[in-house]
Symmetry: C2
Amino acid sequence: MNSPLDLAHLRRSCSQCSLQQLCLPAGISGPELDRLDEIVRRRRPIARGERLFRIGDSLEAVYVARDGAFKTVTLSEDGDEQVLGFHLPGELIGLDALGGGAHRCEAVALGDANVCEVPFSQLTDVAAQVPGLQQQLLRVIGHSLNRDHDHMGMLVRRQANERIALFLHGLGERFRQIGQSSTQFKLPMSREDVARYLGLALETVSRGFTRLQEDGVIDVHGRRVEIVDIEELTRLAHGGEDEAPRTRRARSTP
Amino acid sequence: MNSPLDLAHLRRSCSQCSLQQLCLPAGISGPELDRLDEIVRRRRPIARGERLFRIGDSLEAVYVARDGAFKTVTLSEDGDEQVLGFHLPGELIGLDALGGGAHRCEAVALGDANVCEVPFSQLTDVAAQVPGLQQQLLRVIGHSLNRDHDHMGMLVRRQANERIALFLHGLGERFRQIGQSSTQFKLPMSREDVARYLGLALETVSRGFTRLQEDGVIDVHGRRVEIVDIEELTRLAHGGEDEAPRTRRARSTP
DNA sequence: CGTCGGGTTGAGGATCATCAAGTGATGTGG
DNA sequence: CCACATCACTTGATGATCCTCAACCCGACG
């Protein structure tokens, strides 16, 4: 019963997972959770750059990162990629195939990662029998929708700095939800990824970060980010003036 | 059995609805369809400007327009609205509350409309018992997700003209899906709505339309649009050069 | 006929994309 | 251990795009 194998399995089971309350098992327990647990496949570690699925692949499973982060991208006909979303641990990946049964985007690991894979047809089977799972599945899908809407909220903001502030603020919040610091984190993605996510040029993102640092709002070194003045960041994110109000700063005035 | 009341009901039932194959009933028939039909409420006509729900309202139902169109909007703290999406007949409205149980946006009728209202808890109940409905519900949600992704695809395009071309092209496709002409239609929304949807200034949208007309790609009079050169429109939508290449054209030459 | 809302058009200037060069970390091979 | 290559990022200069402000047009409607 308690063979090493079982222990290993238990250690990785949903009931032991720190993301339990954010993931599909939220609100489910006992034998019902076991039913879900049975169909979850824990895959070998994924290497940076590896893909969970590609455009056109038929919908086999949905995925959740246990750790590590992913981006989903589409490729425009002229070859360059658009970043549709970033996926932190606990956030469902692969829902883009729900509509047509085939994936419309690719999921790429931003760093080494571990994922759980849930065969989709089995998931819906179990969901039909476990009301709590059906509810939670819909809730998780809803969260994904909300993130897309937040993303649009960034894209529609005209000023590059607003988009960037919004991005950093939102990312912090998402880190908080998975139990990490919302003010000090390492960006899982490159500047280029951020740019393609925000609809900006790479250089504009870089300049935006620099500007926020100059204004004492954040502290950046490469991918390490610390949010120093969360209030000001929030203000900027919501269309506040560009100039810091208290911290008067001379801006290359001729 | 065939009292006028029954007839009236039948005429409006899902099984009689022209949108059946695009809507929740797709792939369902017989007694199972009846079960769905029973929980659907057909509401009195909705007037232009009326709202199906407001921000903060708890999730009571999802909605589908039988005719007419809606927009969903969020209000930024400084009061101006962002258009999250347009909803043509057959497209589910209200999914934004799936995640948190409360609506994050408002659904506003763009013109007079008729909607079906499906109480959400009953919908999930029936879906748990009718596998076909569960599948279709997920598929419809997936379509909504896809539209959001298409929307992002427009927002990320840098050039205003690309966004506008993409918008018109996509709208045409959606009209086609509901059995209307994809090349000749009346925009249900104002220029301002389009602008807030595309993240552009109202004037830029107006100029974009004019430009497309000058180039012989479309024919616009107010909200009436005819797509004259669908090929060229597609080309422009995907980042083709602004100037028409073959069809050399004198621009606004008297 | 006057007004009002929605739409178009024009002029000017700020923002951001583009091109281009420079920096700094990391890794590789001699 | 040091040159050297590579990659991610930063910084600078310039010009096009599109936002802003403003006027104007037009059709609807009282």
